[in-house]
Symmetry: C2
Subunit: 225 residues, 2 copies
């Protein structure tokens, strides 16, 4: 993604996240980005196109980061930690985009909405696989499909809800949030204590991997206009 | 709350939840409720007043239900189950209101926003107390305040995120969702099995209490216009 587009998407997302989809016009977006409406339409032709671009870029980035980082992890527990790490780290850096991505795709034309839904489904399938594997590693009781789905959505809930409350200043560093989500999802509030060493190892490994991924010039071009 | 107001709030909430605050006008709301704009303004004078009313009604109802039902519970675990039960049950019945309540109160005048914030803070304090007590009952390791806050928001995340995915048809009855949230928050995905008997007992007790509460003509008048 070019630097120019990245900055424009960021400013546009911030405005649209605050004003809502219906409360934002191309004129507002032009003002927020400091461009003329015709210059802005070089990047996206309508606010529908912007909504599509934010979703495409976001879900592609999440999936790409997972494919690189998750594939290096060796155990189901490491993969669960990595999944949470990638998801939370991406959204701490893209809070406005996150709010917009949770609106869904009702405003898009059917064909575009289907493209985004497919990406979302692939990403949810990854989560389902991660959750199922960690459950199987912990206990030999199989989990019925409906419950796997519910548990996956509980995990997404713990992660995505941060858009409504989280600030590093008040609530601690992202790493603390990631550790709590991992610990609570795995062992609940009643877990006697965290396996600090294990989490510290994972935390450091993940940070290095994520940095290397973010710096990789070969990462996805999907969102290039 | 009078029957007429309840129905009007429900229809108005459904429209505003779908269109967004900025995308909804008093004219749209009049059309959705089948009233003239002047008849509608008898119930609320502006969409800001509607936003205030939905928040006031919602957080008051949640707090009232908790005060009645939570006070009957004898143990920290029962209180945690009851808190989740009341919250999820209320929002399964008021999904549009829930979506609107998560928008926050930026669109309200300062004085009104402060009233809602106070209700929210009181409700969050209840959750904090419930979580702290159940943690103390499970382990003698004290939990630092910042972590209690994060855990409370993880719990709210598991519950509130249902607005983006839950349907009884696809994902099972609300009771299954409540049991999973309780089980995962308390013991994590790796819990060997649920204490079925305990949950069944709680589930039945809660349903009866909630029904009795909902039928009580003396419950809150706070949202009467």
């Amino acid at each position: 993604m070019s630097e120019g587009l990245e900055e424009i998407l960021e400013k546009s997302s911030r405005l649209m996240a605050n004003r809502g989809f219906h409360g934002t016009s191309m004129r507002d977006l032009a003002a927020a980005t400091g461009l003329s409406q015709s210059a802005l339409s070089h990047y996206f032709r309508s606010k529908q196109a912007l909504l599509f671009l934010i979703n495409l870029q976001g879900f592609t980035a999440l999936k790409d980061a997972w494919l690189k980082i998750g594939s290096v992890m060796k155990t189901p527990h490491e993969r669960l930690y990595a999944f949470i790490f990638v998801h939370v780290t991406y959204f701490v850096d893209h809070m406005s985009e996150m709010r917009i991505m949770t609106w869904g795709t009702l405003a898009l034309r059917l064909e575009k909405a289907k493209m985004i839904q497919k990406l979302k489904d692939q990403y949810t399938d990854i989560a389902r696989q991660v959750v199922r594997e960690v459950r199987e590693a912990e206990t030999d009781r199989p989990m019925e499909d409906a419950r796997v789905s519910r548990e996956v959505y509980l995990l997404f809930g713990m992660m995505n809800w941060m858009q409504s409350w989280y600030s590093a200043k008040t609530h601690g560093a992202p790493a603390d949030l990631i550790d709590d989500i991992y610990g609570t999802f795995l062992g609940g509030i009643s877990r006697p204590q965290r396996n600090e060493q294990n989490v510290t190892f994972l935390r450091d490994a993940m940070r290095d991997l994520y940095r290397a991924h973010a710096a990789d010039p070969g990462r996805s071009n999907a969102a290039r206009p």
